[in-house]
Symmetry: C2
Subunit: 397 residues, 2 copies
């Protein structure tokens, strides 16, 4: 038996696991210290009341023979109508018309952004922004694909644009971006759609943070850009929109118009999901279906505004310190320059040891992340204020 040798090319620890390990080690060595985590993008507010009510009802359904639900609808990969309909309506409000068979419910965008690769040849070249969410890189290393990078730098506002001289088959775009918080305008995305079309490439568009976008010029879905349905798969998540990090629900859109060499990618993904997946929990799906109701949206808007306010607290703090950053607007992430020329991990250790605040080292997101540091707005307001006070005290000179 041969193992998949590509795994040996991966670094031992996944970024967030390494941050967790270092944090745990510090806590164990300093039991009296109150460590504040503004690192992993985990939410802190409870689920919206509309979601809770829908989930209780779904649990009750599972208790009675008459309403019990086993495997999902025959094509389990598509999910329950109540959820699909609410997703289609939500897209329609963004000006995007989709068909029910184009949306696949899953246990989260993280699963999908790796699993989707099953439908592509291992021989493809993958274009990945640098820095970016590390899973994009790792899942392609595991599959042995050739990887090229699009540099996201201060010079381009952390929004790389297509380079015609670079050949790519699969293109990952995350907007609003994790970790930089930068978000593409519809006009910028149009350039990526055109580039993908020329290259006969497919864009994997991670829209996990779209709900934070308020600026009308920025895209909330790549399908707001003309021609995108012929080149793009969109990965969406309830994690940040509705606090579902512990509930696990996402959805992936594979348009019918996305055809390569006469083969429908929608059919390939349907085949993958019906063979290697068995649907998302009924209870989870019913909770998710409550998110885009009128009541649900009002409640999650409140939550998102709470996090937006946290982002403002952090950016005001950095403004006061004269530290440069991107994000914090149209995004829950703030991407700051490490002070005093420190490297990302140096600043991680410095901040952990001297302010007991945990962030995420920018270098963990790619080489161009070196010298940067990611803070998230997903903490509690109290902790965010306290972390900022500690950072101000530490860095004000």
């Amino acid at each position: 038996m041969k193992i998949n040798e590509n795994f040996l090319k991966l670094k031992e620890n996944y970024l967030f696991a390494e941050v967790g390990r270092k944090t745990a080690a510090y806590r164990a060595a300093h039991p009296g210290k109150e460590v504040i985590r503004l690192s992993i993008g985990d939410v802190t507010l409870p689920l919206a009341p509309a979601v809770i009510a829908a989930m209780h009802k779904a649990v009750d359904d599972m208790a009675k023979k008459e309403t019990f639900k086993g495997y999902g609808p025959d094509a389990t990969c598509y999910g329950y109508d109540a959820l699909l309909d609410s997703i289609l309506s939500s897209y329609a409000r963004k000006g995007v018309q989709l068909g029910k068979g184009e949306v696949f419910i899953s246990d989260g965008a993280k699963s999908d952004c790796g699993n989707i690769l099953d439908i592509f040849s291992a021989e493809n070249t993958v274009l990945i922004p640098d820095p970016v969410y590390p899973a994009y890189f790792d899942v392609n290393v595991m599959a042995g694909r050739n990887i090229v990078f699009a540099a996201a730098t201060e010079e381009n506002g952390f929004l790389p644009m297509p380079d015609e001289s670079v050949k790519a088959d699969i293109i990952y775009i995350c907007s609003p971006n994790n970790p930089t918080g930068a978000a593409y305008t519809k006009t910028q995305l149009k350039a990526w759609v055109d580039y993908a079309k020329e290259q006969n490439a497919v864009i994997l568009y991670d829209a996990a943070y779209e709900y934070f976008v308020t600026d009308e010029s920025l895209a909330r879905s790549i399908y707001q850009v003309e021609g995108a349905k012929e080149v793009a798969i969109e990965l969406c998540s309830y994690s940040k929109t509705a606090g579902f990090t512990g509930v696990r629900c996402g959805y992936t859109v594979v348009p019918e118009a996305l055809v390569r060499g006469g083969v429908s990618l929608n059919r390939l993904w349907a085949r993958r999901q019906s063979t290697k997946f068995n649907g998302t929990s009924y209870i989870t799906q019913m909770g998710a279906a409550a998110v885009f109701t009128e009541e649900g949206e009002r409640q999650i808007d409140e939550n998102i505004n709470y996090y937006r306010n946290n982002a403002k607290i952090i950016t005001s703090c950095l403004d006061g310190l004269g530290v440069s950053y991107t994000g914090g607007k149209n995004s829950p992430y703030i991407w700051m320059t490490c002070p005093h020329g420190m490297t990302s991990w140096e600043f991680f250790d410095y901040l952990l040891e001297n302010a007991n605040v945990v962030g995420t080292p920018g270098s963990g997101f790619g080489n161009n992340g070196e010298g940067f540091f990611r803070l998230t707005a997903f903490g509690t307001e109290e902790n965010t204020r306290e972390a900022c006070a500690r950072m101000t005290a530490l860095l004000k000179n």
Copy 2:
């Protein structure tokens, strides 16, 4: 961009999707007929009260800031302690001692039995019983692996034993078997463990139906066999044990002792899961943790006995008709010989059209399944009795 051409080698429809399509077409053409499905292995009894109570409590936890749960414990692939502890205790009652880091919680055994392949080279040769659960075959075709078969026939009681002349790297075993209902004794499994050791192979042991085993000589876990921890990964599911087909929870055991070429397969799977998966719903995990409590076990035993009784109704019916079969004891599946020399799909159509009963054609599980037909005990007692009455009326001559 190149698609994964291996997908084009798959048949268009996954077996159960094809059964569903044919059934739906018949229903649409004959709206007055009451069709009974004894085909897909979906359960019909509601969740146990202990599970329901635990899930309501978990939903309430998600409603309050103090008890809200986001991403799982740092190594999300391992799951919550309450669930892991209950799984370890359940194993201990079967005489198997496992460590907490050896158990990985997932959204179901179906996901795991495909995803686990990520850690193996595409160059391995896979040994798959024929007939067997079709996903084993399909997921390996998708990855382009060489596949060899172990023939399960009437002659060997549908329990193929190792053939020393066959070289294999990965070996799928499902016991009690889907679809034949046949189950290996511990002594028989020992031969497979020894064979795997000689071949330096890894066994993927699907124990989804272990809870149906009552005969003490039969294995409920491959780890009841000496030496198995060095060669076997075990895939387990709450779907059939506790009616979780719509809830989605399973667990996969990768023992620390499973090392190949100095590489721990436990670490590889941990890396795969922490990169391409983000844990199982907290609510689901809390429900699953209630399954192996004293109260939970008493309640699910009642449900399993209800299905066992259905199996007895079906086997009594077949006994009365003089139709030969395996399974129905230590298994929820009954694997019958198609009457009058019909092929599997001929009998499927015959039974659907003349008795309005849906089963699963044996040939869909492999070439050796031709001429056989799978019925399941997971229906309601009322439907099972009615289906048997119709089959008796149809086949008694």
